[in-house]
Amino acid sequence: MKKWMVLCLLLVSGMGMVVSSQTDRSGLKASMTRGKQVYDRYCLTCHQADGGGVPRMNPPIANTEYVLGSKQRLIGIVLNGLNVPLEINGEEYENPMASHAFLKDQQIADVLTYIRNSFGNKASAVTVAEVKSVRAKNK
C-alpha cells in the first residue's frame, strides 16, 4: 500500500516535471520566434544574419563573453547603447550602437534569448522580469 502510494506520487511528480519542461521548451521556442523578428528588424543589418558582425565596425555577437556572460550587462547594452573602446575577441570595433530603450521589456527579453541561443550560442533565456529590473535600476 505504502509502496504503491510512493510509486504513484513519483509517477505524478514525474509527469509534472515532463509537463513543466515542455512548457519551458515551448515558451523558449515562442520567445525565440518573436526574438528573431526583433533581431531581423533592429539588429541584423549591423550584426549580420549569422551574428558575425562587420570587421572593424560592428562586433560579432556569436561566441562572445558580452552575449554569453552577464545578462545584466547585456540588457544594459541594449538599453543604453554602447560607444566606448572595447576589445571583443581580440578586435576593436568603431561604430557606436544607439540606445534601444524604445523596445518593450518583452521584445528585449525575446531578442536577447534569441541571440543567446542562435549562431552557435547556448545560454539561459532572458526573462521580462530581468529586463524590468535592469531598466528600473537604469533610471
Binding site: P55, N58, N83, E94, P96
Partner: protein, 413 residues
C-alpha cells in the same frame, strides 16, 4: 639546402608571398595578370610604391608591434625578399612625395626623410606634420594626398552617420547647423613641410563630406578628387520612404572633384544616382523626393550604395592600354549596410576619364577578392580591397585590410 631553408623561413615569417600563389582567383580583363606580393600582414589599409619599387603598407592593427611595413625586392627577381618594419602607431594614410614618406595615425600625420638608398633616415623618430585631429572612433581614419605646391590634404571623417542629436538612433533629428562640420566632415589642407600644425594652422579645404577614405591629386587637371562613403540606415530608419531594395542602392557612393571652399552637402542631403539629384535627408525633413543644399556641388559619379570606395588612384603609367591613361581606379571595400539584401562591392572599379571628367560608364576592373559568389555575411568574406598604388613600371597594386594581402596587376598584352 641550408641557404634555401633560411630564405624560405624568412619569407614565411614575414608573409611575403611568392609571385605565383594568389589565395583567391582575381578576375581581370584579358591581357592583365595578377600576382600576390604580400600576405597575412593583417589590416593593411593604404599602400604606396616608391620610385625604386619598394612597397610601403600602413597597418590599422600593429603587427609584431609595428604599424608600417616596407617590402623590398633586393635582387630584382620579382620576390620581395627584404622587410623593414617601423612606426608604433596604427592608421590608414601613406604617401611618398619629394623624398619623404608621409604616414597618418587616426589623429596625426608624420613624415620620414628618405636617404639616397631610399631608406627612412630615422624610422623611430618621424617629424610630426599635423597633430590633434578629431578621433572619435567612427570614421577616424585619416587618408592623405599631396599636391605639387607643397600642400598635404587630410580627410577628417565625421564621427557620425547623419549628424543626428543622437547618432544612429531612429527618430533622432538632424542638428542644423551641424556642429561636427567645424572640426570634421571635410578635407583639411596643411603645409607638407611644417611641423606640429593643427586646426589653427590648417585650412578647411572642402566641407560637407561624411567620410572620404579615397583621395588623390589629379596631375592632369591639378585638382583634388575624392571618393565618399554615403550615409547608412535609410531603409532601416525610414522604411516608409525607402524599401529594402532602395535602401540597399541608396544613397550613392560618390566621386567628386573638390576645389577650395566646396561643400558636398552632408549631412543635409545625399546623392541619388537614379534621380540625379541631391535629396534632402529624412533627418532634415526629407521625404525621398525633396531636394536640398542647393549650393552644394554635384558628384562626378554616383555608384550603388554602401560599397565603400576606400581608395582612389589616377592612372598615369604607360604600361596599361591607352584607355586607362588619366582614368580613375577605385577600390571598393564592400558593403555591410545592404543587409538583409546581398552585399556588393569587394572589387576594383575603373572610371574612364579625360581632363578630370568621366568619358564613359564605370566598369569592374578586378573582381573576386571576397572569395565567394554572393556575400550574405561579412564573416564569409576573404579579402576586402582597401588601398591602391601605382608602381614605377606602371603596374597597379591593390591591398586588402581583412587578411593583409597585396596584389600586383600587370598588363602583358
Amino acid at each position: 639546402m641550408k641557404l634555401s631553408f633560411l630564405l624560405f623561413s624568412t619569407l614565411a615569417a614575414f608573409g611575403v608571398a611568392s609571385a605565383q600563389s594568389p589565395a583567391v582567383s582575381i578576375k581581370v580583363p584579358a591581357g592583365f595578370a595578377v600576382a600576390s606580393v604580400a600576405k597575412d600582414f593583417g589590416r593593411v589599409r593604404h599602400i604606396a610604391v616608391n620610385s625604386n619599387g619598394d612597397v610601403y603598407m600602413k597597418l590599422e592593427k600593429l603587427n609584431k608591434g609595428k604599424g608600417i611595413y616596407r617590402l623590398r625586392d633586393t635582387n630584382k627577381d620579382g620576390i620581395m625578399d627584404d622587410t623593414l618594419a617601423f612606426g608604433n602607431y596604427i592608421g590608414t594614410g601613406i604617401a611618398i612625395k619629394n623624398g619623404y614618406l608621409y604616414a597618418s595615425s587616426n589623429t596625426d600625420v608624420y613624415r620620414y626623410k628618405l636617404d639616397q638608398q631610399q631608406n627612412p633616415v630615422n624610422p623611430d623618430q618621424p617629424e610630426t606634420i599635423v597633430t590633434g585631429l578629431v578621433d572619435k572612433r567612427q570614421h577616424a581614419s585619416k587618408s592623405i594626398a599631396l599636391d605639387n605646391a607643397g600642400n598635404i590634404y587630410v580627410n577628417i571623417g565625421a564621427p557620425s552617420n547623419a549628424c543626428q542629436e543622437q547618432d544612429r538612433k531612429q527618430g533622432s533629428p538632424g542638428m542644423n547647423p551641424c556642429p561636427i562640420l567645424e572640426t570634421a566632415g571635410g578635407i583639411w589642407q596643411f603645409r607638407a613641410d611644417q611641423l606640429n600644425q593643427s586646426y589653427k594652422e590648417g585650412i578647411r579645404y572642402a566641407t560637407g563630406i561624411r567620410n572620404c577614405v579615397g583621395l588623390d591629386w589629379n596631375n592632369e587637371v591639378n585638382e583634388l578628387f575624392i571618393t565618399v562613403h554615403g550615409r547608412d540606415m535609410l531603409y532601416q530608419f525610414y522604411p516608409e520612404m525607402y524599401d529594402q531594395k532602395k535602401g540597399a542602392e541608396l544613397p550613392s557612393e560618390t566621386m567628386y572633384m573638390v576645389k577650395k571652399g566646396d561643400d558636398c552637402g552632408w549631412p543635409y542631403v545625399h546623392w541619388d544616382h537614379f534621380q540625379n539629384k541631391k535629396i534632402l535627408n529624412p533627418e532634415y525633413g526629407g521625404d525621398g523626393k525633396k531636394t536640398g543644399a542647393e549650393k552644394a556641388i554635384d558628384p562626378l559619379v554616383g555608384f550603388p550604395g554602401h560599397m565603400a570606395p576606400n581608395a582612389l588612384l589616377f592612372y598615369t603609367g604607360n604600361q596599361f592600354p591607352e584607355k586607362y591613361k588619366h582614368g580613375a581606379f577605385i577600390a571598393f571595400h564592400g558593403s555591410w549596410n545592404r543587409a538583409p539584401e546581398n552585399q556588393e562591392g569587394f572589387y576594383v572599379v575603373f572610371v574612364p576619364m579625360k581632363n578630370g571628367k568621366p568619358t564613359g560608364k564605370w566598369e569592374v576592373f578586378a573582381d573576386g577578392f571576397s572569395g565567394v559568389d554572393k556575400v550574405t555575411n561579412l564573416s564569409a568574406v576573404k579579402h576586402r580591397p582597401c588601398g591602391l598604388a601605382q608602381g614605377p613600371d606602371g603596374s597597379l597594386y591593390v591591398s586588402d585590410d581583412n587578411k593583409g594581402y597585396v596584389w600586383k596587376i600587370n598588363y602583358n598584352k
